[in-house]
C-alpha cells in the first residue's frame, strides 16, 4: 500500500458488448496513478478511451454490456473499488470522488433551483439540517465565484450563463470535500474567456481543498500550465505518461509529438500542417519547412463586399407583442480574391448568423452584399439562383450536414443536377469521382452512405459537394471545430490546398483563435453582433487595438 497515491489504475481492461458475439475493447490494459494533491491530465482524441476510464472509476458504465476484466484494479486509498459492492461504491461517489461533465446545461436539472440541487448533494452524504445545508450551499457558491450567492441560490439553471452553470456544477462536485475531482472536458462547451476562468478556479480549489484532479481533455495545450502529470491515450492504450514538463518539452512518443505539432499555434504558420501520419510513419523530419506569409494588400481584387449588414430576429414576448433582437449589427468588410477572411467571436457573437445571412440562408434586415456589381440582398429568389452556386458553405457538424438517406454519389450529383452542370449523369458521376479523389477519398466512397465514414471523411464529402459547383466563395462555418486535433490538421491542409488550386475566397468562421490565425489573411472580430475589430491577421494578433480582442487573445490556452 502506497501512501502518496490516491488512486492507482492497474491494468484496466474494459470491453463493451456490441452484439451477441461482438465486443469492443475500449481500454486495453491501462496503468496510471493519481498522486495525492496533484493534477493529472488525461489527454486523447475521440475513441481513445479517456472518458471510459473516468466512468469506470465513478462506476458509471452501463453494467448490462460492460465487461471489466478480472485482472483490472482500481485502488483508491488502498482499497480496490472493483471488489466493493454497488452500495459501497455509491456511497463513495459524490463524497470521496466526484465528477463534473462537459456540458453544464444538460448536467443540471432544469426544473430545480440550483441551491436545492446543491443541498440535495450535501444532505445525501452528510447529516446536515436543511438550514445548515443551505448555509453551506451559499458558501460553496461564493467559493466558486458566483456573485451575490444569497440571491443566486434561488435561480434556476436557465437563468445563469454557461460559465456560471459550470461553476454550480463545480460547487456541487466539491460540496462534500472530495479527495478526487474528475473533470471530463469541463471547458469544451464554453467560450475561451470563460474557459480560462474555470481553469483558474479549478487550480485555486485544488490548492485550498488539497484534493487531486483528474482532468480529461482532447486539448493537450490546455493542460500545459495546470497538469503535474500528463497521460496521453490513443485507442485504449497509453502512449506516453510522465511529468508535465517532460511530456511538453521532450515528448518520447511520436503520437504525443504529433498531437503537439498538428495543432496550429498562434506564433507559427507552416506551409502545411504536420499530421499524425507523418509522425507515426517516421517522416517528421521531412516536413516542409518555412512559413506562409499572409495578408491582404490594398491592390488585391475584391470578390465580395459587405456593407452595413444587419440581421434581426423577432422574439415573441407574451401573446401578441414581440421584440427585435439584433444578431448582426452593421457589419462591413471586403473579401479579396483567393484570400481568407477569418471571423472570430464567442458564442452568441453573431458570426454564424453573419455567414448564413450573406448566403441568404437567413433573411436580412438591412445592408448590402455586393457580388459582381449586384446587391445580392435585393435580388428575388429566382434572380439569386445562379449566384447560389458561386457561394457555398461547409457546416460545423459533418454528422448533421449530409443527408443520411443519400449515398455520397447522390450527395455529389444533386448540386450538379440542380444547376445543370454537365449534360449527362455519366459525366457528372465522372466529375464527382475526380472530386472524391481530390479531397482524398476512395472512389468506392461513391456508393456508400454518410454513416460509414468518420467525421473527417464526412467533412471531406461536404467540401467535395461544394466543389461540384466550382464556387468562388466558400463559407467555412466552424468547419473544423468538431473534428479531432489530428483530423483538423488534415482538413485545414486540404482547405489550403484547394484555395491555392482553385483560387477560392474563404470566409472562415471559428471560435478558435489559433486556427483562425493559421488560415486567415484578414481577421474580423465580432462581439454581441458588432464588428469589434477588422484588420490583417498578423497585425491584429500582434497589436490588438480593441480591449475585447486583447481579452480574447489573452485567454488562448498556453499563453498565460
Amino acid at each position: 500500500m502506497t501512501t502518496e497515491n490516491l488512486l492507482e489504475i492497474k491494468n484496466l481492461h474494459v470491453s463493451f458488448r456490441l452484439g451477441k458475439s461482438e465486443t469492443f475493447e475500449a481500454l486495453k490494459g491501462v496503468n496510471y496513478v493519481i498522486p495525492k494533491n496533484s493534477v493529472v491530465a488525461l489527454v486523447g482524441e475521440s475513441g481513445s478511451g479517456k472518458s471510459v476510464s473516468a466512468m469506470a472509476i465513478m462506476d458509471l458504465l452501463p453494467r448490462a454490456n460492460t465487461v471489466i476484466a478480472p485482472e483490472s484494479g482500481l485502488v483508491f486509498e488502498g482499497v480496490d473499488l472493483l471488489k466493493q459492492s454497488e452500495k459501497q461504491r455509491r456511497a463513495l461517489c459524490g463524497k470521496q470522488i466526484s465528477m463534473i461533465f462537459q456540458d453544464p446545461m444538460t448536467s443540471l436539472n432544469p426544473v430545480y433551483k440550483v441551491g436545492d440541487q446543491i443541498v440535495e448533494v450535501l444532505r445525501l452524504h452528510k447529516p446536515l439540517s436543511k438550514a445548515a445545508a443551505k448555509q453551506r450551499a451559499v458558501e460553496l457558491l461564493r467559493e466558486v465565484g458566483i456573485p451575490d450567492p444569497e440571491t443566486r441560490i434561488n435561480s434556476y439553471p436557465h437563468e445563469m450563463s454557461g460559465g456560471q452553470q459550470q461553476r454550480v456544477m463545480i460547487a456541487m462536485a466539491i460540496a462534500c470535500e472530495p479527495k478526487l475531482l474528475i473533470a471530463d472536458e469541463p471547458t469544451t462547451a464554453l467560450d475561451v474567456t470563460i474557459q480560462k476562468q474555470i481553469i483558474e478556479l479549478l487550480i485555486k480549489l485544488k490548492a485550498t481543498h488539497g484534493m487531486s484532479v483528474l482532468f480529461i481533455t482532447h486539448d493537450l495545450e490546455l493542460v500545459r500550465e495546470i497538469a503535474d502529470h500528463v497521460v496521453v491515450m490513443h485507442r485504449g492504450v497509453i502512449k506516453e505518461q510522465g511529468a508535465s514538463e517532460q511530456v511538453f518539452t521532450a515528448p518520447k512518443d511520436p503520437y504525443t509529438r504529433a498531437l503537439l505539432a498538428c495543432r496550429p499555434t498562434i506564433d507559427k504558420r507552416p506551409i502545411r500542417l504536420p499530421v499524425v501520419e507523418d509522425f507515426l510513419a517516421g517522416r517528421e523530419h521531412e516536413l516542409p519547412q518555412g512559413e506562409r506569409s499572409r495578408g491582404v494588400l490594398a491592390s488585391d481584387p475584391i470578390v465580395l463586399e459587405v456593407r452595413n449588414l444587419k440581421k434581426t430576429f423577432r422574439v415573441k414576448q407574451g401573446l401578441f407583442s414581440h421584440k427585435e433582437v439584433a444578431a448582426v449589427k452593421d457589419v462591413s468588410f471586403k473579401l479579396a480574391r483567393g484570400k481568407t477572411l477569418g471571423i472570430v467571436g464567442e458564442s452568441g457573437s453573431g458570426k454564424t448568423t453573419l455567414g448564413k445571412t450573406i448566403l441568404r440562408l437567413n433573411s436580412c434586415e438591412g445592408g448590402e452584399v455586393i457580388y459582381e456589381g449586384k446587391n445580392l440582398m435585393s435580388l428575388s429568389d429566382k434572380e439569386f439562383m445562379p449566384y447560389k452556386r458561386q457561394m457555398q458553405i461547409v457546416f460545423q457538424n459533418p454528422y448533421a450536414s449530409l443527408n443520411p438517406r443519400f449515398t455520397v454519389g447522390d450527395i455529389l450529383l444533386e448540386p450538379m443536377r440542380v444547376h445543370g452542370i454537365h449534360d449527362s449523369d455519366k459525366d457528372r458521376a465522372e466529375h464527382a469521382m475526380q472530386l472524391l479523389k481530390r479531397v482524398g477519398l476512395d472512389e468506392k466512397a461513391f456508393n456508400k452512405y454518410p454513416h460509414e465514414f468518420s467525421g473527417g471523411q464526412r467533412q471531406r464529402v461536404s467540401i467535395a459537394r461544394c466543389l461540384t459547383m466550382k464556387p468562388e466563395i466558400l463559407v467555412c462555418d466552424e468547419s473544423v471545430s468538431a473534428l479531432d486535433v489530428s483530423v483538423q490538421a488534415q482538413v485545414l491542409n486540404l482547405l489550403q490546398e484547394l484555395q491555392d488550386e482553385y483560387g477560392m475566397s474563404y470566409l472562415f468562421i471559428s471560435h478558435d483563435l489559433n486556427v483562425v490565425k493559421y488560415i486567415s489573411d484578414e481577421v474580423l472580430v465580432m462581439n454581441h453582433g458588432e464588428m469589434v475589430e477588422y484588420a490583417n491577421a498578423d497585425e491584429l494578433y500582434r497589436q490588438p487595438k480593441h480591449a475585447y480582442t486583447q481579452k480574447l487573445l489573452a485567454a488562448i490556452p498556453g499563453r498565460g
Binding site: 452484439g19 438517406r405 440542380v418 459537394r465
Partner: protein
Amino acid sequence: MTQQASYGFWRAAGKRLWADKLARVCMAILAIYFAMAVASGLGWIAADWNEEVGVSYANPSFLGEDYPNPQGKNSMISQEVLVIDDKQKAVDPLAPYYAEIEQRAAAYEQEELKPSWTLPLGGDKWGRDILAKVIQAGEVSITVGVAAAALAVLVGTLLGAIGGYFGGKLGDLLEWFYNIFTSVPYILLVLAFAAVFGKGISTVILVLGFTGWTGTYRLIRSEYIKQRGRDYVMAANAIGASHARKMFVHILPNVSHLILVQLSQLVVDFIKAEVILSFLGLGVPTDAVSWGIMINEVMPELVLGKWWQLAAVATVMSTFVVAFGLFTDLLRDALDPKASRR
C-alpha cells in the same frame, strides 16, 4: 472506410427485422392473409360464399352431426310417407290428373338439394359456409384497412409536410383546421361522412381515410419542424434545391420510417373501426360481408348457442390484428437506429 458492402438504411433495417424470429413468424402469417385476400379478390377461393350449402346453423364438422342442435340431425322431423291408395283416389278430385302432372314434372330436370348437416367451420343462419364467409370477409376488411390507412397516411403526410415545412401563416391555417376537425367527436364525424357519402365499401374507405389522418398529420408535422432546421436541409438550400425537392427528396426519406409505422398501425386501427362501423350499420352494404358484419350477426346466434361463427371470426381477426400489431412494433424497432444499439 469500412470494407464491408455498403448498406443503405432500408437494407440494414430489413436485415435487423429478418434476424428476429418473431418478426419472421408474423410476416409469414401476414403473407398468408394477404395471399388469401388476393385469391379471394380474384375469385379463386370463397367466390361462392353466399350459397346456402348447409342447413341453417349447420354444425362444424369436428362436432359431428349428432351434436345437440335444434336444427341438427337429432331434431330432424321424421317425414311420413303418404301412401295414396285407391280408396283415397276415389274421392280425390285431382286423381285423374296425376299421370299428367307426373308427366309434365318429368319435363323439368329436378335436383334435390341436400343441404349438408355439417360444414368445416359450421354454417350461419342461412346455412352459408363460415369458412368461405370468413375468407370473403377478410378480403373486404383487409382491403378497407389497407386502402383507408393508405389514404389517411397520404392526406396526413401531405398536410403535415406542408404545415411543418412552411410553418408561418400556412402552418397556422392547417393547425386551425386540424383543431376544428379534431374537436368534433369522432363517431359523430364518421356518421356525418357516412351519411353524406352513402353506403358502400368505397364509402367506408373514404370515411376512415378522411377522418383518420389527424394522428399522422401531427406526427409528420412535428417531424418536419424538427428536420427543416437540420444542417442537411440548410445544405440543400445552399446548393439551390427547390422547396418541393427539400420537402420530398431530402426530408421525406428521413421521416419515411415513421410513415411506414403509422401506416401499419392505422391498418389495424381501421380494421377495428370497420367492425364498429358495421356494428352501427354504417359499414359495408348488406350484400357484402366483412369481419365486422360477421361479429354483428353473432349476437342473436349466441342466444341460440351457436358459437362457431363468433369463434371463427374472432380467431381469424385477432390472429391478424395481433400479428400485424407485433409486426408493426418490430418494424419500428428495426427502423429506429437507437433501438438497434441494444
